[in-house]
């Protein structure tokens, strides 16, 4: 014991005030007393609880926590009997004390190419890594109090603005000089997928933001490794300075966590992700990121669904998410992902504990909850040596509660921050609520006291007569309590007193007895007492209502968690399709009464009278089997913008970064026999972004949908969209300008490559004094085209511009791979054939723009007849699900044979996408991507019965009907639950159902 005491003095002699450097007005008022909190249940950390223990603090720090401590003489002792002490909570995702970034008052209608952030900063206004929350921070006691009431003692705060947001500061929630509150600045570095207040046009899409982050990291790398570079860039230097700090990325939905992680991996950077609460929907992939999570307890309100028609507006996925959201934290915890909890998404912070308790009822253990509010956030920012538990030497940041922190009845009494007391709910306050019999001399009244301790509501029951009639009215009583003094005023207007009764007295005996003197309206003094009776009945009633509803059984999560989502993903099967009409797309042509074996995801055999042991037999009699439809031009399954419109050349952006696996149109297109799609950038700019090639593996993650080992593709665009997009101030405005954009881009790309080649030629040892060229992702991509590693699909209409691009390509030494849309291809089919470019066109679209006035539905047939590889594409979520019918139009308009016409949507797009070695025909060894049709696939009467990808059945017309019914039942079940939640007092929101945006080539914005 002596040892402890000795140690104490050593510490205290070292302790220095947090504002030692400040002048004091008047007499110094220092207090170096010890404070001891005895007889408490102390939760020293999320794992350990000591009963009947003592916490000893001094000068804002913890001196000791133990069952028994010998208290020094100068100790102020607080008896904590029946009370709990916890380390105060930590929120690492706050903007406390940081002014919001100023928004530009005038809206920017025209394109803003340059940053408005004047100074030696980054070129892009949304990249602000130089912002330091520590320098912006001001104590805001009102906001601090809001969080203190919830038991928080420390927050990590930063300015929530921009894509790179700068660093955060760790501050306590004390009401003190900022110097006494801040624990550290430059604690973590912050990023997001949100431009915030930036008025600069670029980036205008999520993929643009991702590309910008990538490019910025390359720039940082370049500056860091090349000291000779002349450019002084405060922003990039800040990133270098803060590279080693914890990096916190606000991803704000499950897929964006995966996206951010992918970027991080490229630069050996592991982010901590701030999520949105839907992580349970992709938990396997999120765990695989290795990232820690910061998660909100912000659950959606139940929808107002009492009108059954209105409930149609609310989507199945929103209904599902309402039920599952409270399970998120429990699911994350049980998957052993480190996470902390933040209040940041809560508009009304008061619901924090209510929601947290909901999460606990839905499977989150109390231990994990406490961990996520103390240990985890502290360790995320490497501050566990100061905060996050109660241990010797740590900050005296703790809370005193009436019960277990998570208990329904718990009251947070006090929140001590750095040894300073903040009373939240005074435990010394005398709670006078209850039922009393109030005696005024001979007269007895029944008195009820309700309300909040600071806002009491009293009433008395009159039992008597009034105007000679029985009187049982209630009269309200004004009650004021100050410490132990109590005063009551009321006006019974009964036989006893027509005027006002005023009483004053003392509360004693743990509020069970009040007594004192009072005065009546006639001036007479009277003795009075109030004696506490039994508990009221009301309290019990309430309890019964709650309970039930919540359950620890996690409701079923579907993949994706929306209508038609799978319970479990389909697996490759061994199948024998017997006796079908097989459209092989090979020399065998259309084989009647043929068999096809599918095994290990591949076509195993094609022929007649085949057998395979263990194969599932599918009767193909009267049915047709074709290759899966491939859509060369699709814009489904894309998140937050299909166009990066803001510059004429945006080769650096990629749709592959923003594939959205949660688009119901994936399923709808499976129902139309589509198995693979090229997800293309839009047609805003001459050089658009890179494509994603996906298989429509509904239920899989974006990464799993992407086709492995493919050539790269990129979207180019010509004509009206390019001219009109980006307003009237962006070059080019004419077809003349478009040509020059290309020459400029490719000449720059070649010069760029030449620089690198020259650099590579310098011997390693001589490089020290020569700065390396800067990696420019735009130029890198253009060089991929020149080097035939990436291939162009060019949005095009008029023959003149088609001709132009072929000339550009010829002169730059590459070939255009595909002209997409190409509605005037028929005018230059011979030139296209000579260049070796394919045409992916619409069957019969025209007249939607001036440049398609000469579009004809015979276009496909003419190009085909000239030997051009022709595909029909959709560019439209609706048309994408009946491309077989569009292929049939090649028969109608121009008399293409049925066999060749079907190739327009199967083999030919496979060729254009360089996938024909494994897709596009029913040939042994190719991927088993096939469709079973009820009829000739070109017939309007044909229906898809099965769509198979890699040997797994992703769409089955019977399963579809079943799932539709199950979805209906499931939605009805949850709606029933919403209604009972509403009856139980849950707040609701008006029905709403934002439909996902359908993208076309020319869709601008997110």
């Amino acid at each position: 014991m002596k040892k402890i005491i000795l140690f104490i003095f050593i510490i205290s002699s070292v302790a220095v005030s947090a504002q030692e450097t400040f002048n004091v007005n008047g007499t110094h008022d220092k207090n170096h007393n010890f404070y001891a909190f005895t007889n408490a249940t102390i939760h020293t950390n999320y794992l350990t609880t000591i009963e009947n223990a003592t916490l000893l603090i001094k000068d804002g720090k913890i001196i000791a926590v133990a069952e028994k401590i010998d208290l020094p003489a100068n100790t102020v002792v607080f008896d904590m009997k029946n009370k709990h002490i916890y380390p105060s909570l930590i929120d690492v995702y706050s903007d406390y004390g940081i002014a919001k970034a100023a928004k530009s008052k005038t809206r920017n209608w025209t394109r803003q190419a340059k940053t408005n952030n004047k100074g030696a900063f980054n070129w892009n206004q949304a990249i602000k890594p130089e912002v330091e929350a520590g320098k912006l921070f001001k104590v805001d006691n009102k906001k601090a109090e809001e969080l203190r009431k919830l038991g928080f003692g420390t927050v990590l705060t930063h300015q929530h603005d921009g894509i790179m947001r700068g660093t955060s500061a760790l501050v306590t929630l004390g009401n003190d000089q900022a110097n006494a509150v801040m624990l550290k600045d430059n604690v973590a570095n912050h990023l997001s997928f949100n431009k915030g207040t930036s008025t600069q046009s670029y980036p205008g899409s999520l993929m643009g933001m991702i590309a910008l982050i990538r490019q910025t990291y390359y720039d940082v790398d370049w500056l860091f490794n090349n000291k000779q570079v002349d450019e002084y860039n405060i922003s990039l230097n800040s990133i270098i300075d803060n590279w080693k700090l914890p990096q916190i990325f606000e991803a704000n939905d499950k897929l964006s966590i995966l996206r951010a992680d992918k970027v991080g991996d490229e630069f050996e950077m592991q982010y901590i992700f701030k999520g949105k609460g839907d992580e349970y929907q992709r938990i396997k992939e999120i765990k695989a990121t290795g990232g820690k999570l910061i998660l909100p307890v912000n659950f959606p309100k139940a929808y107002e669904v009492s009108d059954p028609y209105n409930s149609l507006i609310v989507s199945y996925s929103d209904v599902k998410n309402w039920e599952l959201a409270p399970y998120n934290l429990g699911i994350v915890a049980s998957n052993e992902i480190d996470f902390s909890i933040t209040t940041s998404d809560l508009k009304d912070k008061k619901v924090f504990f209510k929601n947290l308790r909901k999460a606990i009822k839905s499977g989150l253990s109390e231990q994990d909850a406490l961990k996520a509010l103390t240990y985890s956030p502290a360790t995320f920012i490497n501050e566990y040596d100061r905060i996050g538990s109660l241990a010797q030497g740590k900050l005296a940041n703790f809370i005193i509660t009436s019960e277990n922190l998570f208990a329904e009845k718990n009251i947070i009494h006090e929140n001590w921050i750095r040894g300073k007391q903040h009373i939240i709910s005074d435990y010394n306050i005398i709670d006078v609520r209850g039922n009393y019999s109030l005696n005024l001399g001979e007269k007895v009244y029944d008195l009820k006291v309700k309300g909040e301790p600071k806002k009491l509501k009293g009433s008395i029951q009159i039992i008597g007569t009034k105007d000679n009639k029985p009187d049982t009215s209630k009269v309200s009583v004004s009650i004021k309590v100050l410490k132990n003094s109590i005063s009551l005023t009321f006006n019974p207007k009964d036989d006893f007193e027509k005027g006002t009764v005023r009483l004053s007295g003392t509360v004693t005996n743990n509020a069970a007895i009040w007594d004192g003197n009072g005065q009546l309206s006639n001036g007479n003094w009277i003795k009075w007492t109030a004696i506490k009776g039994k508990k009221g009945k009301d309290d019990d009633k309430k309890k019964k209502k709650e309970s039930k509803v919540d359950s620890l059984v996690v409701p079923e999560i579907q993949y994706p968690n929306m209508a038609y989502g799978f319970d479990s993903l389909p697996k490759a099967e061994t199948m024998l399709i017997k006796g079908a009409t097989v459209w092989t797309n090979e020399a065998e042509g259309i084989m009647k009464n043929a068999d096809v074996i599918i095994h290990n995801g591949k076509i195993q055999a094609v022929g007649r009278n085949l057998s395979f042991e263990g194969a599932k037999i599918i009767d193909g009699k009267g049915k047709h089997l074709s290759s899966g439809i491939i859509d060369e031009h699709s814009h489904i399954a894309i998140s937050r913008g299909v166009n990066e419109c803001t510059q004429s050349v945006t080769a650096e952006v990629s749709i592959a970064d923003v594939v959205n696996s949660d688009d119901v149109n994936i399923y709808r297109q499976l129902a139309g026999g589509v198995t693979a799609s090229q997800l293309l950038h839009g047609s805003c700019n001459p050089v658009g972004g890179q494509s994603a090639l996906i298989k429509l593996k509904w239920g899989s993650s974006p990464e799993e949908m992407k086709i492995k080992d493919t050539d790269g593709f990129i979207k180019f665009a010509l004509g009206e969209n390019v001219k009109r997009a980006g307003g009237t101030s962006r070059f080019p405005q004419t077809r003349m300008g478009v040509e020059q954009v290309y020459y400029d881009a490719f000449i720059r790309a070649k010069e760029y490559q030449a620089k690198w080649d020259a650099f590579a030629a310098i011997p390693e040892k001589d490089r020290e004094n020569t700065p390396a060229p800067r990696i420019d992702l735009e130029m890198e991509t253009l060089n991929e085209i020149i080097n035939k590693e990436r291939f162009i699909s060019c949005h095009s209409y008029q023959q003149g511009e088609i001709n132009m691009l072929m000339h550009v390509a010829d002169s730059m030494g590459f070939r255009v791979n595909t002209f997409t849309h190409i509605l005037e291809g028929y005018k230059v089919a011979d030139k296209m054939k000579a260049h070796g470019v394919g045409g992916s066109t619409f069957s019969d679209w025209w007249a939607y723009k001036f440049e398609v006035n000469d579009a004809i539905p015979y276009n496909g047939a003419i190009m085909h007849n000239q030997g051009v590889t022709v595909a029909y594409n959709s560019d439209d979520a609706e048309m994408g699900r009946r491309l077989n019918q569009e292929a049939a139009k090649a028969v109608k308009y121009g008399g293409v044979s049925e066999e060749e016409a079907l190739k327009f949507v199967t083999l030919n797009p496979a060729k254009l996408l360089h996938l024909d070695h494994k897709m596009g025909s029913i040939k042994v060894g190719k991927d088993a991507d096939v469709v079973l049709w009820s009829d000739n696939p070109l017939s309007i009467y044909a229906k898809v019965e099965k769509t198979i990808i890699d040997g797994a059945v992703y769409f089955d017309i019977e399963e579809d009907a079943k799932r539709q019914k199950e979805n209906q039942k499931e939605k009805a079940r949850i709606i029933e639950k919403m209604i009972s939640a509403k009856k139980g007092g849950a707040k609701t929101q008006a029905p709403n159902g934002k439909k996902p945006k359908l993208y076309h080539c020319d869709t601008v914005g997110e």
Binding site: M562, W846, A847, K892, G894, Y941, P991
Partner: protein
């Protein structure tokens, strides 16, 4: 006789007519189409038919084997074995002739300024020279309801036939109806409740109440053009077309027109109409059903719901037909027969499906006394296809008549096809 036969069967492709398609002269000869498969448009089919017409009207529609034909009675007898004959397809709720190029605003004549404009008449803007119309009629669509768009009341439509020099001779039924766009209860953009809904319905109520009161006075001293245009809605001369899709809006629209004593009301759109089929039948409200080739409106809807709606409405006994409004509506009108084809693929009998673009449409538009089906006494507005016209593989229109006039089914696109096919074959 031989001449016509040649023109009919091969004319559309071989005629090297460089001129713009010219309206045909009035029918003077008596014509008989013999041995074709006649799809009457009323649900019936005659495998081996004899169809005759003179002065623009059908005189015989019969089984060729079951009647005695005096061939000397006809100037022209055209033998069309294995070919299919259909009544001219009618496109309701269409902007054909009112627009030419989607992205060029100056070519748009369907959307007038203002909210309440029943007095604005589409027929005035109807362009008989539209290049789009010629591409549509060569797929068998021969009539349309030229319909204005936008605002609460977008204007008054007229029904036109596609063979005319000027809008005056294009008119088939002038000023047939007034179009009302029922305000959405939920925003189309963000799905949130439309806070203005109540207000906009109140305004509509107010307008209709006043229009009805106005219509009671025959010769109003001070004319109100809007109210004048509304008279027909109350006295039976005009149909009120209410465009609505959401079930509650449809219900409201029906109650609204009852309340205001509208003589004939039709729902246009009607995505949810199947949910209130009984109410529609009870009130004799027909539906012009939203484009069949469209996406389901709700995530959990049957993925094929738009394909199945025709069958569902048919089973429920509602009178309805098909339309094509929406994206690229004018040029896409040529796909109207395929919507009927899809309706057939998803449960409807093929001849019933044909009704949805012919006789049912005529009934709903109030022109079924003279057109919409191949029946004696009706207009000889029909076309001949090499195969099943409801399937794109076989829809191959080789000849067409409007009111007996043998129309030119060539178009700008076919000309370009010939021109550029020639470029390669001549090289």
């Amino acid at each position: 006789m031989k001449n016509i036969l040649l023109i009919l069967l091969t004319g559309s492709l071989l005629s090297v007519n460089a001129q713009i398609e010219t309206p045909a002269p009035k029918q003077t000869k008596k014509i008989m189409l013999l041995n074709g498969v006649a799809h009457l448009g009323n649900g019936k089919i005659i495998q081996n038919s004899a169809i005759a017409f003179e002065d623009g009207k059908l005189t015989i529609v019969a089984n060729a084997a079951a009647i005695k034909i005096d061939f000397s009675q006809f100037d022209t007898v055209i033998n069309i074995p294995n070919k299919h004959v259909y009544p001219g397809i009618i496109a309701p709720n269409s902007t054909l002739g009112l627009t030419e190029i989607g992205a060029v605003r100056m070519t748009h004549d369907y959307s007038e300024y203002g909210m309440f404009k029943p007095h604005v008449r589409s027929i005035i803007a109807y362009n008989t020279e539209s290049k789009i119309t010629t591409t549509v009629r060569s797929n068998g669509i021969l009539l349309a309801q030229a319909t204005p768009r936008s605002g609460a009341i977008s204007g008054t439509s007229s029904i036109v036939q596609f063979d005319a020099w000027n809008w005056e001779d294009a008119v088939y039924k002038k000023d047939d109806g007034v179009h009302l766009n029922w305000s959405g209860m939920f925003s189309r953009w963000n799905g949130k409740k439309n806070k203005e809904y109540d207000k906009s319905v109140t305004k509509l109520n107010d307008f209709f109440t006043n229009a009805l009161a106005y219509s009671k006075t025959a010769d109003y001293p001070e004319k109100n053009l809007r109210f004048e245009a509304m008279r027909g809605v109350f006295n039976g001369e005009k149909t009120l077309y209410i465009h609505a899709n959401f079930v509650k809006e449809i219900t409201e629209a029906i109650n609204f027109s009852k309340k205001h004593k509208v003589s004939k009301m039709v729902i246009v759109g009607g995505y949810d109409a199947w949910m209130v089929a009984d109410m529609l039948k009870e009130n004799k409200v027909a539906v012009i059903l939203k484009r069949v080739h469209s996406l389901p409106q709700r995530q959990e809807d049957d993925v094929y719901l738009p394909y199945k709606l025709p069958h569902m409405l048919f089973d429920a006994g509602v009178l309805f037909c098909l339309e094509n409004s929406g994206d690229m509506e004018a040029m896409g009108t040529r796909n109207l027969p395929f919507y009927a084809g899809t309706a057939a693929a998803y449960g409807l009998d093929k001849e019933e499906a044909l009704k949805l673009i012919t006789l049912n449409t005529a009934k709903i538009l109030g022109i079924d006394k003279t057109t919409g089906s191949l029946e004696v006494g009706k207009d000889a507005t029909l076309f001949i296809s090499n195969g099943d016209a409801l399937d794109m593989r076989s829809n191959d229109v080789i000849g067409a008549f409007i009111q007996g006039r043998h129309i030119d089914i060539d178009n700008h696109q076919k000309k370009l096809y010939r021109k550029y096919s020639g470029k390669y074959t001549d090289q």
